[in-house]
């Protein structure tokens, strides 16, 4: 190792970690280009499906899950009853239970109010952002999580509102949600660090495609669980 490299490494080791708020806003800036197009798409699609602007905006805040909201509103528009539409949306978002379980360590020693209210911010992007960072605990986690989840919720709701208002004047962009998929592709490409993660990803993609074909609402959940199970099975066999 050269002196220069050693100095660089020491500088990196002694460099202070960013403050929770800075870290959250940095992650927000990373997520925004993928979240905003999906929010606009949801706003446009939900109004096209016959939902009133108030229901779409209220859903953006209280559901905080675009795919679940869209499935519920589309089901209602297609003639499903209110209970069936609600259940369809809940099934789509069932994966947040797994995210919650994976984040339990960060929530474990938090005050009760935080453990009851802050899980509302658990979505794909916040889960993926927090698990890509060094673990935060206590007050640092609360600040990071509050800033990230709260800011993303404001951004998300604004994007949905823009879609609702500007939808009629926008050119037809039926593939705009592909930009959100681009965000996930980028994050995935950086997380394929070892054979375990590659097996999990390939397995998940295969399971998700098959499940999505059979029961569209369960594609992501079945894919994620299937990928993890396949990777664990592969790992156990390769140890023998």
């Amino acid at each position: 190792m050269t002196a220069g490299t050693q100095e660089t490494q020491e500088t990196q080791e002694t460099r202070p970690q960013p403050q929770p708020r800075q870290a959250a806003l940095r992650d927000l800036a990373t997520m925004a280009p993928g979240v905003v197009p999906f929010g606009i798409t949801l706003g446009v699609a939900a109004v096209s499906a016959g939902a009133g602007p108030l229901a779409v905006l209220l859903g953006a805040v209280v559901v905080y899950g675009g795919s679940a909201q869209l499935v519920a509103l589309s089901s209602l528009h297609a003639g499903a009853g209110m209970l069936a539409a609600t259940v369809a949306g809940v099934v789509v978002l069932a994966r947040v239970m797994l995210y919650g379980a994976a984040l339990e360590g960060a929530f474990r020693d938090q005050p009760r109010w935080f453990r009851l209210l802050a899980p509302h911010f658990i979505i794909d992007q916040t889960y993926l952002a927090v698990t890509a960072r060094d673990p935060l605990a206590g007050r640092d986690f609360r600040r990071y999580w509050g800033w990230l989840g709260g800011s993303l919720l404001v951004m998300w709701t604004s994007a949905v509102a823009f879609g609702v208002l500007a939808g009629p004047w926008l050119p037809p962009l039926p593939h705009l949600a592909l930009v959100g998929t681009g965000l996930f592709v980028g994050m995935l490409a950086m997380r394929l660090r070892d054979p375990r993660s590659v097996v999990a990803a390939v397995g998940a993609a295969g399971c998700a495609l098959v499940a999505h074909h059979v029961v569209p609402q369960l594609g992501i959940l079945v894919g994620a669980v299937g990928g993890v199970v396949l990777a664990m099975t592969w790992e156990r066999r390769s140890r023998r």
Binding site: V63, V90, G182, F184, G186, C207, L209, G227, V228
Partner: protein, 105 residues
């Protein structure tokens, strides 16, 4: 109150319950082996989201559009891998999307 509003409130309550159950109740009941597998959840979820997102974008499209959707996703992955930058990756996806929607369709 419209049906859509009622469904949104009910769905919001259901989703809140799922999230809280995931944080508070589920972990205490998970076997150790399942808990070990949770660190693989990140790549698995991402791959599932990509697969479903790509499949949805390509389904029902003609061969050219489906091919462009797939090419956009592959190019995005390649750019992310080479540049290690989410900004460049999302930019690639945006260019591909605009190309498909404004130039091809």
């Amino acid at each position: 109150m419209s049906h859509a509003l009622v469904v949104m409130v009910a769905l919001g309550a259901g989703c809140w319950l799922l999230r809280v159950l995931g944080v508070v109740v589920l972990p205490a009941r998970l076997p150790d082996r399942v808990r070990e597998g949770l660190d693989l959840l990140g790549p698995a979820v991402l791959a599932a989201l990509v697969a479903v997102g790509t499949g949805s974008a390509a389904s029902g499209a003609d061969a050219l559009t489906a091919g462009l959707v797939l090419a956009t996703v592959l190019a995005t992955g390649l750019v992310a891998r080479l540049t290690r930058s989410l900004g460049w990756a999302i930019g690639t996806a945006l260019v591909g999307t605009l190309l498909i929607d404004l130039a091809v369709l």
